[in-house]
């Protein structure tokens, strides 16, 4: 089924992301992207890792059209981002900002979460259902009437997450979703990612939390200095300590332990690790 822009809530429309040889320079002169190419198939879960200033946020801001490529091309399905407004792109790409305070505009949590669906022209009943479901997902149903700034920063991050979930876009992008979250918050966000994957949606995240990446994302892209250093299955990419080290990243804790113990495999989960170690006794 093809999204014609009239059915913005069609979450299952096949919507590949294609980034072709994109370079981008900020007005300050910073070359943030240097010839980035990648393709993300519908339903993939991709984590982007890399050092501060590597160009991760600049790259994802190209996917919803917030930034337009200096050279090269970005397409989301049949839409070239240069030919569509950010407001229109929002029907296909939901983006949760790194800093929630860059995103929040409304005076109550409920209105904030309803903002996107309303702008997308979702019918009222559907809008209400989507907002209620999104608030429930992040555990903020009770806070619907609260002013976003009366919540803590990690809670505000969950508000912005709910705002994007309520838009029911085929592609969802998170910029540092676990930042400032405690163990319960990280687990909640992991569950949300898993649910989006189960619904067949495409999920991209920027993260410094490599253990979170290992647990929920099948594919990892490593960036440094505006370029893609490595791109492949997370189970492979995240074990390449030498590549990761060049961009200030270390493999997940279990991979480092497996490597220090010279295990043949580098398991990504506690269960796999225990099976490997106890099984080899």
């Amino acid at each position: 089924m093809k999204d014609d822009g009239q059915r913005p809530t069609e979450a299952r429309a096949p919507m590949p992301i294609v980034v072709e040889d994109v370079s981008f320079t900020y007005p300050s002169g910073t070359h943030a992207l240097r010839g980035v190419s990648l393709r993300v198939s519908p339903g993939e879960a991709v984590a982007i890792v890399g050092e501060n200033g590597a160009g991760k946020t600049t790259l994802v801001k190209h996917l919803n059209g917030l930034l337009k490529p200096g050279t090269g091309r970005v397409t989301i399905g049949d839409w070239d981002t240069r030919e569509h407004t950010v407001a229109k792109m929002a029907a296909r790409v939901g983006y949760v900002f790194q800093n929630p305070d860059d995103q929040i505009v409304e005076r109550t949590v409920g209105d904030e979460v309803a903002f996107g669906p309303r702008r997308l022209g979702q019918p009222a009943a559907e809008q209400q259902a989507n907002v209620a479901a999104a608030l429930a997902t992040v555990g903020l149903t009770e806070a619907a009437k609260t002013h976003p700034y009366d919540l803590t920063a990690p809670q505000r991050k969950l508000v912005t997450l709910a705002s994007v979930l309520a838009m029911r876009t085929p592609i969802v992008i998170f910029d540092e979703p676990t930042m400032g979250q405690d163990a319960r918050g990280v687990a909640l966000i992991g569950d949300i990612v898993d649910r989006l994957k189960a619904e067949g949606r495409t999920v991209l995240t920027i993260t410094h939390d490599i253990d979170f990446c290992a647990a929920h994302f099948g594919r990892a892209i490593v960036m440094a200095d505006g370029q893609v250093l490595a791109d492949g299955p997370a189970a492979d990419v995240l074990t390449r300590a030498d590549v990761l080290a060049t961009t200030n990243v270390e493999p997940p804790q279990l991979v480092r332990l497996a490597q220090a113990l010279r295990l043949k495999r580098a398991p990504l989960t506690v269960e796999e690790f225990v099976a490997e170690v106890v099984g080899s006794e």
Binding site: Y26, S28, T30, G50, E51, N52, G53, T57, Q98, N99, D101, T152, A153, P154, Q155, E176, M179, G180, Q181, D182, A183, R184, G185, V186, A187, H208, I210, D211, A245, T247, N248, V249, E250, P252, Q253, L254, R256, L257, A260, L261, V270, E271, F273, V274, V277, V278, E281
Partner: protein, 278 residues
Amino acid sequence: MIRLRDVTYFYPRATTPALADVTLEIPAGQFCAVIGANGAGKSTLCYTLAGFVPHFYRGKLSGGVEVAGVDVPASSLAKLAGHVGLVFANPFNQITGARFSVREEIAFGLENMGVPLDEMEARVEDILGFAGLRDLAERSPFALSGGQQQRLAIASVLVMRPPVIVLDEPTSQLDPIGSKEVFAVLRDLAATDAATVVLAEQKLEWVAVFADRVLVLHEGRIVADGLPGDVLASADLTQYGLQPTRYTQVARAAQAAGFRADRHDLPVTLEEAVEFFR
């Protein structure tokens, strides 16, 4: 040196205390990590040590707070500035907005302290190198990435060399190696310069490796206080909304499957885990 005695604090209009009966002594030269779930009181403790509670947030504070020899409730934020430095969780709150470059931003606190120009330049240069900001020194603080802004926030406080350094989740946006480096620097500041360092953090792997001591806050109270190896391996950790490091998790799961059932001390660091499984 920090001394809290029976500290209880309510934010304005709050009916439950953000801190309750907190009694605590942290000697100079100690690197103390504060962990706990969101809402446990970590930020409030940081604000209390730096005087933002009660001088900025108002509310109702009872008990004694003494930091670097200063009676905090009886003092003012201006008087505390030379004694205690606070790094906020959101670097955006730290940036003055009154300076046009990273270099000037870092110098801002030193200018206010009246540090002589040549010394100021040397100290700023020094901290630019340490914070990995030398290549960005002439850039606007607002043209930095999230992680770079966080490095700037840390640098702006450390350059003032306060005897007490308080940091509220200062590495949340830093890349993994960058986070680890901040922990190492804080340990060195405590060990070498006898700074008192209090760090609210979620990254238990580096707390385990670098901190001298770990406090667990839960609903405004201190519920555990001890060496990282003891506190972080404790089975109680999860009930306070915290997740042990993967090293502790795999060791505990392996024990449940019969591996090294005789061992009582579970690993909290990579090094200890290697020893446990070898």
